[in-house]
Subunit: 449 residues, 2 copies
């Protein structure tokens, strides 16, 4: 039986980053992958969606180019070639997958193709082969729950990974879901001029975010013609559509963006504790089974970068270094138009904890860079505890929120206060000045409002 | 004679921010402006240029839209309507100027129109009127040196503020200068398909930046068809152009982007020490004349946000609070394609100081978000001292560098180390991950390369 220091099950952004780190640290490491290196994120999730959203945003922008002084584009003649955009996406995914394969090799990580069965605490079987390892990391990810879309003809249902591989797409979509994928998919399709209806099982879209953000999204979707049925299920099939209670929703396809469930690997001879269907882990990503770690979606942390950070944390622990993983300093990025990003506590969470706090909100509509970009929808909200002013949460709606959040995470990681943010000279003209202004406002002295 | 706590001469981003802060702190404040509220930056500098660059970038992007799956745009039919773009710029400037006027009023700041004469240390004359103030802040800005473009027909020369107000522009430009304005103007005109030649009095464009950035720009300009004559002057006039030594440069207009010189206000009965033509100031922005402060370009700090920060610092000092201004933590943003941003020490400065240092460079070409955007030119370079790993400088070339730099400034302001940056979870997929990777690389453990 071949022996390793570490076997990692799953090669998504949690698993492959753990593998790279393990390779760097000199551990004899193998990664088992049943589908494609890079996992959901790289092959069917984050990267494909961001690539197509980029295309959709440019499509929308070309239609408005005249405002910026660009003549000679007839909006009626401009069309979106889905196939061409998907081909571009495929080229990008292939390039990135090859990149990860190369990195794994260069870091001395072996790749085993197939589905893993965890046998006891130290063995992994793949097909007829069995391998042993001092430690095992489970990084098997998640996927939207199947069959949640209601009692309808299943040929109408499209999984998100299937959508990104269709060679052409129809005109009318229903989307079942309330989270980031549901919203991103809705915005992308709407930018392409499709008819989009969301059936949201939750009361609010993006219900886990600060309510100011979910309210913004609700208003924005309404303005941009995305119909949302909140706190609803799909209850009945229909001709050319589906029903939610009495309401008929016209659609050619129904996209399943139901809440994601952990994809648990098969186990034999080992008990691992679960909480709500996810592996329970401690601060070093150890499961209840000694020598078995879990990282990524399978632990309930549903972002790629949280998985990567957990991967580094787990491998560091295996190698004898204790670095911790703080879920409160993990940014959440949602690629809408404008984008949404957040880190730390929401106002609702702060209130529920009974923390005295200050807040500052600053709109993009008076930010000069946002005005030059013709993209003034959005705001920055900064929350801090009252005594020292330590920043507890930052919530951003802005065209470039997903990059802007990096500053907020850095400030929170370094335990910065509102006064600290006020001392950070923000370049002019930039949209990042709104972070400064929101902090000034929390200190009761905004400049530009 | 009307009496004030504070008179500020000049209403650019240094002066008007100082005025707003003074108003907030309850100082009886007046601001004297000889031209337009908002000064050079708002009326003829940063904002007009960023607005037109935004248009130029979109123009270029529409020409490449097909790559992203957008059909129906004929690049040959797409034209740039300069007049329309300038009209948009004018609307934006008008809106922003009104905004500043409104803010000044709301903060109780009076506005005095006309050219100021500083009389002694506490009086300011404007035309026939004279005003007194406990303190005076000089914020009169700078402008490119006139007459530096050589012995040529002056009707060929266009100042940068004139360019932004022309209702149409010709096809061929020469640009005299080596700094940010010269480069931004060259890139904007080149994106619009114009023929552009730069005559740079300095050996390198952007010579004040880390040499990796100026080298990138030099290569990029060469690839994009911007001809640069380095360490040259314009020596002779010519038919349909100008000469630099033996080289004939075909051009319809020559844009003056010579180094900026301080615009000093008229003074009478007061001596204020100058260094190289700029006011000498201490850490609280005090000049050599008691009760007279100077802020902004007139002190040699040539960015709007440095001026604003100096303005806050000066007013805080006047109001009795000591906050300091650290020129090493002032970002420099240059809006090219891709953008350039930097903060802190360059590698050359670190070497010259004999500091032991680590460095990490990470290219955008392997960053997944940059790949989805189809914008992979650029890199991030992080420099830190060796002992504790404190970050000393960050230098970025990226499509969105001017927003990304905010994180770097925050880290430096909070005296963060490479390990601290490594602990900041950067959202995936974002271009900001390159900051993390460059820091990992400086620590000798990059992940994605």
């Amino acid at each position: 039986m071949k022996e390793y220091d570490l076997i990692i099950i799953g090669s998504g952004p949690a698993g492959y980053v753990a593998a790279l780190r393990a390779g760097q640290l000199g551990l004899k490491t193998a990664v088992v992958e049943k589908a494609k290196i890079g996992g959901m994120c790289l092959n069917w999730g984050c990267i494909p969606s961001k690539t197509l959203i980029e295309s959709a945003k440019l499509f929308d922008r070309t239609l408005k180019a005249s405002t910026f002084g660009i003549d000679g584009i007839d909006p009626k003649a401009v069309t979106f070639n889905w196939k061409k955009a998907v081909d571009r996406k495929n080229r990008i995914v292939t390039r990135l997958v090859k990149g990860v394969e190369f990195l794994l090799k260069r870091n001395g990580v072996e790749t085993i193709s197939g589905e893993a069965l965890l046998v006891g605490r130290n063995n992994v079987a793949v097909g007829a082969d069995e391998y042993s390892a001092k430690n095992v990391i489970i990084a098997t990810g998640s996927r939207p729950e199947i069959g949640k879309c209601g009692p309808i003809d299943q040929s109408k249902v499209v999984e998100i990974d299937q959508l990104f591989d269709m060679s052409e797409i129809p005109e009318k979509f229903a989307i079942y879901g309330s989270g980031g994928t549901a919203c991103e998919t809705a915005v992308m399709l709407r930018l392409l001029g499709k008819k989009v209806t969301i059936v949201s099982p939750q009361q609010s879209l993006l219900w886990f975010l600060d309510s100011s953000l979910s309210k913004f999204i609700s208003d924005k979707f309404s303005k941009s013609g995305i119909k949302v049925y909140a706190q609803r299920e799909i209850t009945k099939d229909g001709e050319g559509g589906v029903f939610s209670d009495e309401d008929f929703i016209e659609c050619d396809k129904l996209i399943n963006c139901a809440d994601r469930k952990a994809v648990l690997p098969e186990r034999s001879g080992v008990d691992i504790e679960l909480v709500d269907g996810f592996f329970k882990v401690d601060e070093f990503m150890r499961t209840s089974a000694p020598s078995v770690y879990a990282i990524g979606d399978v632990t309930g942390q549903m972002t790629a970068h949280a998985g990567s950070a957990q991967g580094a944390c787990a491998v560091n622990h295996i190698a004898g270094a204790k670095t911790s993983f703080d879920p409160l300093k993990i940014p959440i990025n949602i690629y809408l138009d404008p984008e949404i990003a957040a880190v730390g506590l929401t106002e609702e969470q702060i209130k529920a904890k009974g923390i005295e706090f200050k807040k500052g909100e600053f709109p993009l509509s008076v930010n000069s860079k946002a005005i030059t970009e013709g993209a003034t929808e959005g705001f920055v909200k900064v929350l801090a505890e009252s005594k020292y002013g330590e920043v507890l949460g930052v919530h951003i709606v802005a065209p470039n929120a997903t990059d802007m959040i990096a500053e907020a995470v850095a400030i929170m990681q370094l335990e910065g206060t509102l006064e600290d943010v006020g001392a950070v000279v923000h370049a002019h003209p930039t949209v990042s000045e709104t972070v400064l202004e929101a902090s000034f406002k929390a200190l009761d002295k905004p400049l530009h409002i």
